[in-house]
């Protein structure tokens, strides 16, 4: 559903993605299109292998499509070039991974601060505030292996939010957490995004995600479809 009067922050047109050197075999994405408005909170469901993570990686500019066009805030991601895409990730995009992907040799504070440093705004107070906002005050100096899974994911959320991006992409942010912690993380992530009017796209298997999203999308065989039912997706 496209909200009238709101400018789309993400526009995907006829997106194809094949893995491998040529266009042989099954594509991960087969000509999908999508528009997402600024400040929207979107849940993307789909079976394993339906192309959810591929779409997210392409939206983040971490991977390149075989065919099709991705516009972020009106700019063609492909035309930005490698440097431009990196700059986009650095300043306008936050990414939350299922397996957290914190740098193991940096403390919680340093992991968050790194994000600010990369964005050219090295503000230690902001990093501390971000950690406090996810409930990790007092654990700034802990290394990832000294934190629980939920705490690691909170650090990852703080890392994504601290630079105040316009878009956050979350790839199964609760996939590696128990239900209670997962709910907590979703509360935190969505709440923060609402407060800051950040666009959030969450790839998920967890039905509870429906309760947080303003828009539900279903991915099937490499194509995104609107879904109003919010029924349980596949495993």
């Amino acid at each position: 559903m496209f909200f009238l009067g709101m400018q789309p922050v993400i526009r995907v047109t006829d997106l194809w993605k094949y893995y491998g050197d040529d266009e042989q075999g099954e594509p991960a994405l087969r000509g999908t299109s999508l528009e997402v408005s600024a400040g929207d909170i979107v849940a993307l469901f789909g079976k394993s292998g339906s192309g959810k993570t591929t779409l997210l990686n392409l939206l983040a500019g971490l991977d390149r499509p075989t065919r099709g066009r991705i516009e972020i805030e009106g700019q063609d991601l492909e035309a930005l070039g490698e440097r431009g895409r990196t700059e986009f990730r650095r300043s306008r995009l936050g990414f939350v991974f299922q397996f957290f992907n914190l740098l193991p040799t940096l403390t919680a504070f340093e992991n968050v601060f790194l994000s600010l440093e990369l964005a050219g705004r090295p503000d230690p107070a902001a990093a501390r505030a971000a950690l406090a906002s996810v409930g990790l005050a007092g654990k700034e100096n802990r290394y990832p292996h000294e934190l629980s899974g939920g705490e690691q994911q909170r650090v990852a959320i703080a890392r994504a939010l601290v630079k105040k991006p316009s878009i956050i992409l979350a790839d199964e942010p609760t996939g590696n957490l128990d239900t209670h912690t997962g709910t907590h993380i979703l509360d935190l992530l969505v709440d923060q995004c609402r407060q800051t009017q950040t666009t959030l796209i969450m790839v998920s298997h967890a039905m509870i995600t429906c309760q947080y999203a303003r828009r539900i999308l279903q991915m099937e065989d490499g194509v995104v479809m609107e879904d109003r039912s919010c029924e349980a997706p596949g495993p």
């Binding site: 040799t105 440093e117 899974g149």
Partner: protein, 829 residues
């Protein structure tokens, strides 16, 4: 990006074991190069210093082409307008009791003061007043000598002491400081003439002349005039092949060292792909990630290089001694002092460490630059499309091998071209590692699954699926093992050729005075010839001459004796080649023929006592006495043209028909010992030669050991990296029901598997390397043919090394497995 740098540096501390292995790997690689380079440098600079000291400030020397010179020449030279100063010299050796030969210089102290003022000042002009009578005895006492202080300390001698030598007892008048390092005894020249039975003769005259051209024009016929520069060039030429050998070994060390550093640097990059991916996903630019890696790699380069410089310096002290001893055995006395520690050594080590690290990291860094972040973030992935990639590498390998072949074919231009070809060959065969792993993996899986069950099977799969890591380590280890087999086979083949040569040429029952430092009196030669039961006596004389300005040797022998009692290894023909030699022709060694491109039927022109003489070459024979080549002629021809009756040694052949051979041998021994002449039986002489031969290869053997150590760190680093990368995977294995013992077993099988593949490859590559060393490098460096001879030993040593090193390299990861995995550990860091 301070935080990124911090993250990288902390990673090094967190993975201490791996970091230490990587540092040691780089350090060993650098140490091999620095150690070899410094010892070669020590030998060559000490050689210049020694020459400087013994020649003093003389500008030239004059001597006969062979043998002593009449002292009457001194009176004529004094009147020559080109001569400013002159000093007669008798330059001989005596053998100390139960010790080595020592150089004895017979000098005229007063004439010598202008040539070697240091000796004069120290011992004749500034003597302590109290010992003046001792000094006086230096001239009056025929047995009075000055002995260098080091030798005096070694023999526990003081002024007034007496010591025994092969030329009788000497009395120590005093000691003197000798900076050349060569043990030295000084004798008054008149006394030296008596001691060495050289009445009216001297060995040479050292000169300071003011007009080289004018002097040469007056004295060049019948004499050999050599300037100081020529002398240095001559000695340098003698060392040329040896120097080449040292340089080749340094390069070999550099090659293996660079391979290892490459291995290390590559691990640093590939094991951190995931971190690089995370950084990229957070918005770090490619160049920023690369800069962080480069900082880490350079840190390793600097620290490892510095440590390598220190190790190399220590190693050079050990190698310098071996190099000095080898040069002393083969060429002339040299006691090189190890190079002092300098910041330059440190700088060289750091530069080497950094350059090799950067070279090593280049390929994986380029891959990291080109890869999409999403792929990098996946971290370690299975080696996909292995066969295709291995095939591509092998195809590149074929191209590289063809290039190597071109270089080897054109090695006749210069031996360096041959060296380049050899290194390119090693690089080329390394590119076949992936394909070999693919090829032998099924057999290895069959073997390991029977030996170790499922963990054995998984170990082979891990080697194959992690080829990005394992292939370089296997290649580095393979190169080191191939070097071991190649050098070992070359040495064994050389030894075999030497034994064949000794059995064909050195067939006398006894050899008198073979050490080359004590001449045999001619009357003793005559005496032996007349002894009952003696079939023949070969009087051997060897002199260094220059041919086309390059040092070579003339050997005088008794052609008819050798024709009767020996069977030379002729390049063409048989013993009938001796007939023309008896008439005045010469035979030349293979090395002479190759060096000067002289063939059978050509003539060689040499400066004799009475002008130039042309000798027709009647045959070429295999010879391993000197790589500088030798011209062999009958003793009568030699005396006719060089007026030198000196005999260096005698080969005694007992009459085959004589009933009591043992009695004859005993009698010859008795008579020789009566004259203080050392005697050796044929087998004793053969074993002495073999022992000299074995000592000659001490440096080479050291390099073999070093290469193995370097490679050991390579394989240990590979195993450790695999271990660190797969910690989570090990947890999964535990969850699946693997015991800690099985995981440790799998690690061990991986190590042994890598060692086995390396060994399998090295059997072929090592044999090819041996053939290249024999047919190309040795032939070009030493101009002699070595006959390839297969021996099992080098292969056995390589096999044992491969297994021992693989097991040794596995020990630490296995220990870590036991220490880290008592429980299941799957969680992410």
């Amino acid at each position: 990006m301070k935080i990124v740098a911090k993250a990288f540096l902390r990673y090094l501390l967190k993975r201490r074991s791996l970091s230490i292995l990587q540092l040691l790997g780089i350090a060993c690689g650098v140490a091999a190069v620095i150690g070899m380079g410094l010892s070669a440098q020590s030998a060559l600079s000490s050689f210049s210093k020694a020459v400087e000291f013994l020649r003093g400030s003389s500008t030239h020397l004059i001597e006969r082409p062979a043998g002593p010179i009449d002292e009457g020449l001194l009176a004529k030279l004094v009147q020559d307008p080109s001569v400013d100063f002159l000093a007669p010299v008798i330059d001989r050796r005596v053998r100390l009791k139960d010790s080595d030969a020592v150089r004895v210089l017979g000098i005229d102290p007063f004439l010598d003061r202008n040539i070697r003022p240091e000796i004069y000042r120290a011992y004749f002009a500034e003597r302590r007043r109290g010992v003046k009578e001792d000094l006086f005895s230096f001239f009056t006492d025929e047995r009075s000598v000055l002995i260098d202080s080091n030798l005096a300390a070694q023999l526990k001698l003081q002024p007034g002491s007496r010591f025994e030598t092969s030329q009788g007892a000497f009395n120590v008048a005093d000691t003197f400081t000798n900076p050349s390092g060569e043990p030295l005894i000084l004798v008054d020249i008149l006394n030296a003439q008596k001691i060495f039975d050289l009445k009216g003769s001297i060995d040479r005259i050292d000169l300071i002349i003011n007009d080289d051209a004018a002097f040469r024009s007056r004295w060049e016929h019948g004499f050999r005039i050599e300037s100081k520069r020529q002398r240095q060039e001559t000695l340098a030429a003698l060392l040329y092949a040896f120097k080449l050998n040292l340089q080749a070994l340094s390069l070999l060390a550099l090659f293996v060292g660079t391979f290892l550093i490459y291995n290390t640097a590559m691990f640093a990059v590939v094991s951190r792909r995931r971190d690089a991916g995370v950084l990229r996903s957070l918005g770090a630019q490619r160049h920023e990630v690369v800069a962080a890696f480069l900082a880490e790699i350079l840190l390793f380069g600097v620290l490892g290089g510095a440590l390598g410089a220190v190790f190399g310096h220590i190693l050079s002290r050990f190698l310098t001694e071996i190099v000095g001893s080898t040069i002393s055995t083969l060429y002339f006395f040299l006691k090189p002092s190890p190079q002092p520690w300098s910041l330059l050594t440190l700088a060289a080590g750091i530069a080497l460490g950094c350059i090799a690290s950067l070279l090593g990291a280049a390929a994986p860094l380029i891959e990291l630059i080109l890869i999409e972040p999403v792929k990098a973030i996946r971290g370690r992935v299975a080696y996909k499309g292995g066969t295709k990639k291995a095939g591509k590498f092998a195809l590149t390998g074929i191209v590289v091998l063809c290039t190597a072949a071109v270089f080897l074919v054109f090695s006749f231009y210069h031996v360096y071209v041959g060296y380049a070809g050899t290194f390119i060959f090693l690089l080329g065969v390394s590119l076949f590692t992936g394909l070999t792993v693919m090829f032998v993996a099924p057999a290895l899986r069959w073997l390991f699954s029977r030996a170790g069950g499922v963990q054995g099977k998984l170990a082979v799969a891990n080697i194959r699926k992690n080829m990005g890591r394992t292939a370089v380590a296997i290649a580095a280890f393979m190169v080191a093992l191939s070097m071991s087999i190649g050098l070992g086979s070359m040495i064994e083949s050389f030894r075999y050729s030497l034994i064949w040569w000794m059995n064909s040429q050195l067939k006398g029952e006894l050899y008198v005075s073979t050490k080359g430092d004590i001449d045999v009196p001619e009357d003793f030669y005559e005496e032996l010839k007349g002894m009952p039961g003696i079939g023949g006596v070969d009087a051997y004389r060897n002199v260094q001459v220059t041919y086309r300005g390059i040092p070579t040797y003339i050997t005088a022998i008794n052609a008819s004796i050798l024709q009767r009692f020996t069977q030379f290894g002729w390049v063409n023909g048989g013993n009938e080649n001796w007939e023309p030699v008896k008439q005045g022709s010469v035979i030349i060694s293979e090395s002479f023929s190759r060096r000067f491109n002289v063939k059978k039927g050509d003539a060689v022109t040499i400066e004799g006592t009475e002008g130039t003489v042309q000798f027709p070459v009647t045959a070429i024979f295999y010879d391993y006495t000197t790589e500088h080549g030798l011209i062999m002629m009958d003793r009568s021809t030699f005396i006719r043209h060089f007026k030198d009756r000196t005999i260096n040694s005698l080969g005694v052949f007992v009459d085959p028909g004589y009933p009591d051979r043992e009695k004859v041998i005993a009698e010859v021994k008795r008579r020789a010992q009566g004259r203080n002449l050392p005697v050796a039986t044929r087998s004793e002489l053969h074993s002495t030669i073999l022992s000299v031969f074995d000592n000659t290869f001490a440096v080479t053997r050291s390099m073999r050991v070093l290469a193995i150590i370097v490679a050991f760190f390579g394989i240990a680093g590979a195993l450790m990296t695999l271990f660190v990368e797969r910690r989570r995977e090990f947890g999964i294995y535990r969850a699946l029901g693997f015991s800690v013992r099985q995981i440790a077993g799998m690690t061990l099988f991986e190590g042994i598997g890598m060692g086995l593949v390396s060994f399998l490859m090295s059997t072929g590559v090592g044999t090819a390397l041996a053939l290249i060393l024999i047919k190309v490098i040795n032939l070009r460096s030493f101009n002699w043919t070595i006959f390839y001879h297969f021996t099992f030993d080098p292969y056995l040593i390589a096999a044992i090394t491969a297994i021992a090193a693989s097991i040794g390299a596995s020990i630490y990861p296995i220990w870590k497995v036991y220490r880290t995995y008592p429980q299941i550990q799957i969680r992410e860091e």
